[in-house]
């Protein structure tokens, strides 16, 4: 007891001071949270999904609360990669933590253009690729639903980018393991999972879906068992690091993800409820390690019996 716990984790060539990151779309561009927590204490943060052009997103209503969760259909509203690099990145560059850019496109070329633009941004540690978006070239099917498409996209991005590439997987597939393997064989440095789970809420009075977009993505505490299970399955199928996302709101849930096989975790919706929740989670992890006599937190990764 009393010994310091080593919380560092390594993904690709990057050392994270602790395994706790924030998830894309739930932490703005970082600056919004400055007054709520010391960003230097985070393992890293993933910024809101960036596209080539600024996007205004879906019409409202965009969110609806569900038991222990929420459904969102924001429509990837963002300021576009150029404005991000010019206006936001300089403001967060001072933080001593990893900044990960999340990107999203409607065809492979757009992803490549994004990856190229981010290549020169020194403070961007890695790129997380959101494949939960429709590929307009093939009738709007999600990139992330087809292993071949994920393979093609990943290898193309790897060719143009010098940064570690994280492929962020959608849970809305019949076999997430095959998608993760496709990403791995195309050279992905890591996979993160899960993105939101597709869902719908109906207003019984009007008999219409509550969201303008009809369908939204479920997030929050309600979804964590789905994420833990998928991380567990993927961990046993690939050799690259797995990043656990989905419903994390306490150190306990974050630890479940790590024991299932996650090297790092991303906290999403919980930031909305408790802006400094990530700091609490880091503390809780450290206490757990001390209590259990663990000196390196990375020792617990994948320790769940098979």
């Amino acid at each position: 007891m009393g010994k310091n716990v080593n919380l560092t984790c390594k993904v690709a060539n990057l050392i994270f001071k602790n395994p706790v990151l924030t998830a894309s779309g739930t932490f703005g561009y970082g600056v919004e949270y400055e007054k709520h927590l010391d960003l230097n204490k985070l393992g890293g943060f993933v910024v809101k999904g960036l596209s080539i052009k600024e996007r205004s997103g879906n019409n409202p209503p965009r969110i609806v609360e569900t038991p222990c969760g929420m459904l969102n259909a924001i429509g990837l509203q963002n300021i576009g990669v150029d404005r991000f690099l010019k206006e936001k990145l300089p403001k967060i560059a001072k933080f001593n933590t990893h900044i990960i850019a999340n990107i999203y496109g409607t065809q492979i070329d757009e992803f490549l253009e994004l990856a190229e633009k981010l290549n020169n941004a020194e403070r961007i540690s890695a790129i997380e690729v959101n494949v939960s978006c429709p590929n307009v070239r093939v009738g709007g099917m999600l990139f992330g639903k087809d292993p071949n498409m994920v393979f093609k996209l990943t290898s193309a991005i790897k060719k143009v980018s010098d940064k570690p590439i994280i492929i962020k997987l959608t849970p809305n597939v019949s076999d997430i393991v095959s998608i993760a393997k496709a990403a791995e064989s195309a050279g992905a440095d890591a996979v993160s999972l899960i993105n939101t789970i597709a869902g719908m809420v109906i207003d019984v009075k009007s008999k219409k879906p509550v969201l303008f977009n009809k369908i939204g993505g479920l997030s929050g505490p309600a979804i964590y068992p789905v994420g833990v299970k998928m991380v567990y399955e993927v961990y046993h199928a690939v050799k690259i690091p797995v990043i656990g996302v989905g419903g994390i709101y306490s150190a306990d849930i974050a630890l479940q993800y790590m024991i299932a096989g996650a090297m790092l975790v991303e906290v999403g919706t919980a930031n909305f409820v408790q802006p400094n929740i990530t700091i609490e989670i880091i503390k809780g992890m450290e206490e757990y390690a001390k209590r259990e006599g663990i000196s390196n937190i990375s020792d617990i990764i994948g320790s769940c019996c098979k």
């Binding site: 779309g25 739930t26 932490f27 703005g28 919004e32 949270y33 809101k48 205004s56 997103g57 879906n58 019409n59 409202p60 209503p61 965009r62 969110i63 609806v64 609360e65 038991p67 222990c68 969760g69 929420m70 969102n72 924001i74 509203q77 929050g220 505490p221 709101y249 919706t269 930031n271 909305f272 409820v273 408790q274 802006p275």
Partner: protein
């Protein structure tokens, strides 16, 4: 911020006034709001937005019990602690060269009561028009009151009661149901006067990151939480509301 509840009492039908101990750090403008966590568990998950109704040595919120979250809030006892985030958003701007008219519908009176206090403190004048469905809902002891069922004051809606008082030089501050605000927007357009409206929308974070509370404006999508909740009525695309 964990603060202590000083009192939490029903003041009219389904309407409650909660007073929360105010640490000195907390100052706010009329129209600003706070995000309240109604319990420490994951259900209900999201914080609830409430306008600031009054601010002194307590932070006061006037709320209507409409669902799960507000019902749970109504059960809180003095001495219980409560987690609030704020003050958030942009409030009303008080202008001295205009005839100020406050028009509130139902629980929409909450931010206007705080505004009225600030206008009074500046020794300026304003007229107040508040509308309710019926007498038992009334939770204010001043102003011109309208009730839909005619059980108190003017019989009918609050906009019809105020209509003759609105002039070109008027500046209206309004908060209430969307249909009321839409009606007022049309009226302001006809009378060529100005209006600041406080809007409501479902929101998760209250600080401009979830992008959930979007409203369509002349300048594209705006966020109720961080661009508003108070907007110039001319910026809002009312046909989309």
């Amino acid at each position: 911020m964990q603060l202590q509840i000083v009192s939490n009492k029903q003041v009219s039908k389904d309407t409650y006034l909660i007073k929360i101990d105010n640490p000195e750090v907390f100052d706010a403008y009329p129209g600003q709001f706070v995000m309240v966590r109604v319990n420490n568990y994951n259900y209900p998950l999201l914080r609830r937005p409430f306008s600031i109704y009054n601010l002194s040595n307590t932070i006061d919120l006037l709320y209507r019990k409409v669902g799960e979250g507000t019902s749970m809030l109504s059960l809180k006892k003095p001495g219980d602690s409560i987690d609030i985030l704020g003050p958030l958003g942009n409030g009303f701007k008080i202008k001295s060269d205009k005839k100020l008219i406050l028009i509130g519908g139902g629980i929409g009176i909450a931010p206007l009561c705080f505004l009225k206090k600030k206008i009074d403190e500046r020794k300026m004048n304003c007229e107040t028009y508040f509308g309710f469905n019926s007498k038992d809902e009334i939770c204010v002891d001043y102003g011109n009151i309208a009730t839909i069922d005619g059980s108190f004051g003017y019989k009918g809606n609050v906009v019809d009661m105020a209509i003759d008082k609105i002039e070109e030089n008027s500046l209206i501050y309004a908060c209430g149901p969307t249909i009321m605000l839409k009606k007022l927007a049309l009226l302001c357009h006809e009378k060529k006067c100005n209006m600041e409206v406080s809007l409501e929308s479902r929101m998760a974070c209250g600080m401009g990151v979830c992008l959930g509370c979007a409203v369509e404006t002349k300048n594209g999508m705006s966020l109720v939480c961080s661009d508003g909740p108070v907007f110039d009525y001319k910026d809002i695309l009312w046909e989309k509301m």
